[in-house]
Amino acid sequence: MKLKRFLLIYFIAALTGVFNFSCIDQSYDLEQLSGEVELFGNSMAIPIGTTTIYLDSVIGGLAGDSGALSVKDGVYVFEYAGSMDMSGLTSALGDFSLMPVNPISTGIPLYDASLAPWTPFNIPPMVYNYSGSSSMNLPDFSTSLIAVDSVDLSNCIVRFVLRPEGLGGPKLKESIRIRFIPQGSVADYYSDGQKLSDWTLNMGDTLDVELKRLRLAAGGSSLDIKQEVTMDISQSGDVTADQPIQTMMHLEMSFLNPLDYEVVYGKVDYSMNGTAEPINFEALGDILDDNDVLSFYNPSIVLSTQSNLGVPIVFSLDMGTSNSTTGESRSLSNASFTMIPASSPSEVRQNQFVIDKEYGTDELFKINPDQITMGYGFATDPASVLNHFVSKNTQMSMDYSMQIPLQFGSDLDIGMGSTMNLSLDSLDFLDEQEDLTVSLNLNIKNRIPLNLKLQLTALDADSVALFSVASGDIAAAGPIDPATGFATGYTQTATDISLSIAQINLLKRTNKMRVEFLITASDQNSFVSIQPSDYIELAIGLQMEGGFVVNLKSQNQ
């Protein structure tokens, strides 16, 4: 029993020793364990993703409030169209009218019966000839607007009325015939559509003759008509003198209607100025910065006129652009043209003028304008040897089309981007970073003939820039077709955007991030053209170096 008791005590002591007398190492106290762990101590790269950005997806949706985007000959073209108000000219010409012409009355002495022994006295049968003339004075039709040379009249009827005095007899009408012979070439007379060189009436008749043209340039100021009167009495008693007086034939000549014209020929002297509705140039939105140089290679303004006006007009376009932010402005130089007049009143003449970079259109957009103003002035050119006539219903219209091909000049320097809101509100772990640098690795295939650079700008809540980092240059696509400016190949560039530890710490204050492409022109050609099929292919990877430190204790708190 003593042995059993000894063994029992011994064994219990041994077990107790095994279970309870082990060593406790204070150096492994978990209370003192640092919560810091470092991931990716050397470096780590994670593919973020790839994307292909076709220009059609960026530019295709852009258009201003009054513009349109189209593709012409493979090139994007912003187009703004409108019309000029020409009502001033047409209204002024429409107010022109011909002065009224006063009627006249003349008389030609016929048989002298003042000594007739009785009345009615049978005028002896024989042929008697008499003559006379009439002259209807015309007013001066010219005004300060038009120096009238000639007029094509509209529905201009002149009535001739013959009336005897002191004559009678059963065959008076048949016996006396009067022949009218217009003198000079002042006017053209028509009857029943036939031009008349002379015409004959019997005594007592009335005749309406249409007057179609007046020629006033050679000094004509009156309508002169010679009358030859033949009194042929076959038998005694056919014509009698009813009073013992000098018998007469009276002629009354008057216009039935107010004088009106179809066409007035002559020098027109008129000038006016006007403005078109300003264009809010919003096509590119707010993707451009204030300091950029938006260098369109060859914007053009196409002016198209239609008119039946036979007057040469010198037209000048006063087009300008302005940037309301910077106050800068640009305008065209020497943009004036002569509108060729219609060759005839029946023609509607079309004129077209193209104002391109020769007139300085390429300078208009370099200030990054937000408004385009368009004024104009025109004046007739009296010195011109061209036609000068004004039709009764003068019509004139002027349309403009401003076309901006997306062809860029060598001084292009713009930024395109957008600002994104960030919600980086859990970045306290950045405090733990000591050596961490982060970079975005970019492998870029560029099919756009423009040099690019990707820039990230961190903004605080007040949009104040905290820091800005940019990639290296991304080479423009090449080669470039010198004729069209199109890229015919692509380039590949590997670059990166790196954030230092100081910049990483600033991310905590970052409220917004502006992502921007800085764009400059390729120097391979004087200009480049971009087309819908142009694209940029991005492969983006995230690279961390120096180790990413996380404090698990602070995370748990």
Binding site: F11, Y28, E38
Partner: protein, 461 residues
């Protein structure tokens, strides 16, 4: 640290281990589970607390992952100041983490002279994870910035878990004064099984793309309330649960018992050729579970995949958070495991163990010394070989105790102890094979990467 703790709760070798220190204490109520021929001398009954066993193994001990510094500071192996290269150089190609748990729901043993008949039912859960060395390298060091790309070989990544119920009867029969034989026959109900493995899983990482070669599979057998989920591209992207079928009026738990079925057998033999010498041998867990194909979900991969990030659709509105998730989703799908609709029934074998022991007693066998050899094998492959020396103290029916020294897996050695008490009708036992000698102040073993514990209360009469 949570990650480390989590890993250390897992196991890569699925073998429900008993605490070997109990092997020579034949009065233990659970002893027939180690050798069916070695039965207690009394009848016993246990409910719920009859036997609880926990086993955790790791290739990394606390002292491997924590580094004391000066002035009482303590850093982990991932701390910025830690020598990561040194840590990685100490790793093998794969670091295994495993764990298992066993709880007897009911245990009844009846002693009838030379015969001992038992009935038992218990829950067994095994889990294991194998982490490739390059997995640590990937997260600790990342890539070699001086090279255009860095290769990570993760082919040995594996995970397996097994949950089943074992219910059976046992018979231990003494054949005269010298020999005894024993057998346990168990019916196995598979409750869940999941396995992930690869023939090849490698990543060639560069800043613009990761080229992934993935040839492997994940297989789950278990209740349909747990489902593998797939992306629109039919790649595995997670696991979800839906227990609505278990909460409605037509809830049926029958399928929980239909997932897998199997059998296992334990065989034991003892011989006492001399009064002071006992020899014993047993084979345990000779068995299998046949998993019903109606409850099998499987995803396989056999492709080379180039991951170059997500498709950054320019100009389309998207939330940053969604984009971040999209990248995460794609990284999650790197294994390219796609749904395999041709899932078939399969058989999972238990890890069998061959125990051979010899015990020599002195002082009328009140003190004995034992030697145990334990060989674990599965699918005809040797998993490990352990040896244990044991000094046993058996003064009477009141107390049995043992001090052991184990050579574990050929990698380490450790002291263990076991005690078995019988106070009136109450039997209590407690045993551990790997008793740590060094602890930190939180009583976490420092140098031991293995830990097990087995305990239980039973009525013994």
């Amino acid at each position: 640290m949570f990650f480390i703790v989590l890993l250390s709760a897992l196991t890569s070798e699925l073998c429900a281990q008993k605490v070997n220190s109990l092997y020579f204490l034949e009065r233990t109520a659970m002893h027939t589970r180690m050798n069916p021929a070695m039965a207690p001398k009394n009848s016993c009954f246990g409910l719920g607390l009859g036997n609880i066993a926990l086993n955790i193994q790791s290739d990394l001990a606390l002292s491997d992952v924590l580094i004391p510094g000066q002035n009482g500071s303590l850093i982990s192996f991932m701390h910025p100041d830690a020598d990561k290269a040194l840590f990685l150089s100490g790793l093998g190609d794969v670091s295994n983490f495993s764990g298992n748990f066993n709880m007897e729901l009911i245990n009844l043993g009846l002693r009838m002279k030379q015969a001992y008949i038992s009935f038992h039912s218990g829950i067994y859960m095994d889990m294991g994870l194998g982490m490739p060395k390059d997995f640590f390298s990937l997260f600790m060091l990342g890539m070699d910035a001086t090279q255009p790309s860095t290769q990570f070989d993760l082919s040995v990544l594996n995970f397996e878990t097994n949950l089943y119920n074992k219910t059976g009867v046992g018979l231990s029969l003494g054949l005269g004064e010298i020999f005894s034989l024993g057998v346990n026959v168990d019916y196995l109900i598979g409750l869940g099984h999941m396995k992930l493995g690869f023939d090849e899983l490698s990543i060639n990482a560069s800043d613009q793309s990761w080229e992934v070669v993935s040839k492997g599979y994940i297989r789950y057998a278990g209740p349909k309330q747990l489902m593998l989920t797939y992306s629109d591209e039919n790649y595995l992207n997670g696991i979800t649960t839906d227990f609505s079928s278990l909460t409605g009026p037509e809830a049926s738990y029958g399928e929980l018992l239909s997932t897998g079925k199997g059998f296992s057998v334990d065989l034991g033999f003892t011989a006492r050729p001399l009064p002071f010498l006992s020899l014993s041998a047993s084979v345990t867990d000779l068995g299998f579970i046949n998993w019903n194909n109606d409850y099998v979900q499987q995803a396989v991969s056999n492709e080379t995949y180039r991951f170059d990030g997500m498709d950054l659709a320019f100009g389309e509105s998207s939330e940053d958070e969604e984009e971040g998730n999209a990248i995460g989703d794609q990284l999650q799908e790197l294994m390219r495991l796609s749904k395999d609709v041709s899932s078939e029934a399969f058989v999972s074998k238990l890890t069998s163990k061959l125990n051979i022991g010899a015990e020599a007693g002195v002082l009328n066998n009140r003190i004995s010394f034992g030697l145990l050899s334990q060989t674990a094998f599965a699918d005809n492959a040797l998993l490990y070989q352990d040896f244990m020396l044991s000094a046993n103290f058996k003064p009477g029916s009141l107390l049995q105790a043992a001090l052991t020294y184990s050579l574990l897996h050929g990698k380490m050695s450790s002291f263990g102890a076991a005690i078995n008490l019988k106070l009136l009708l109450v039997n209590f036992f407690l045993a551990a094979d790997y008793i740590p000698l060094f602890y930190n102040p939180q009583m976490i073993p420092l140098n031991n990467s293995h830990f097990n514990l087995q305990t239980g209360f039973n009525l013994m009469f």
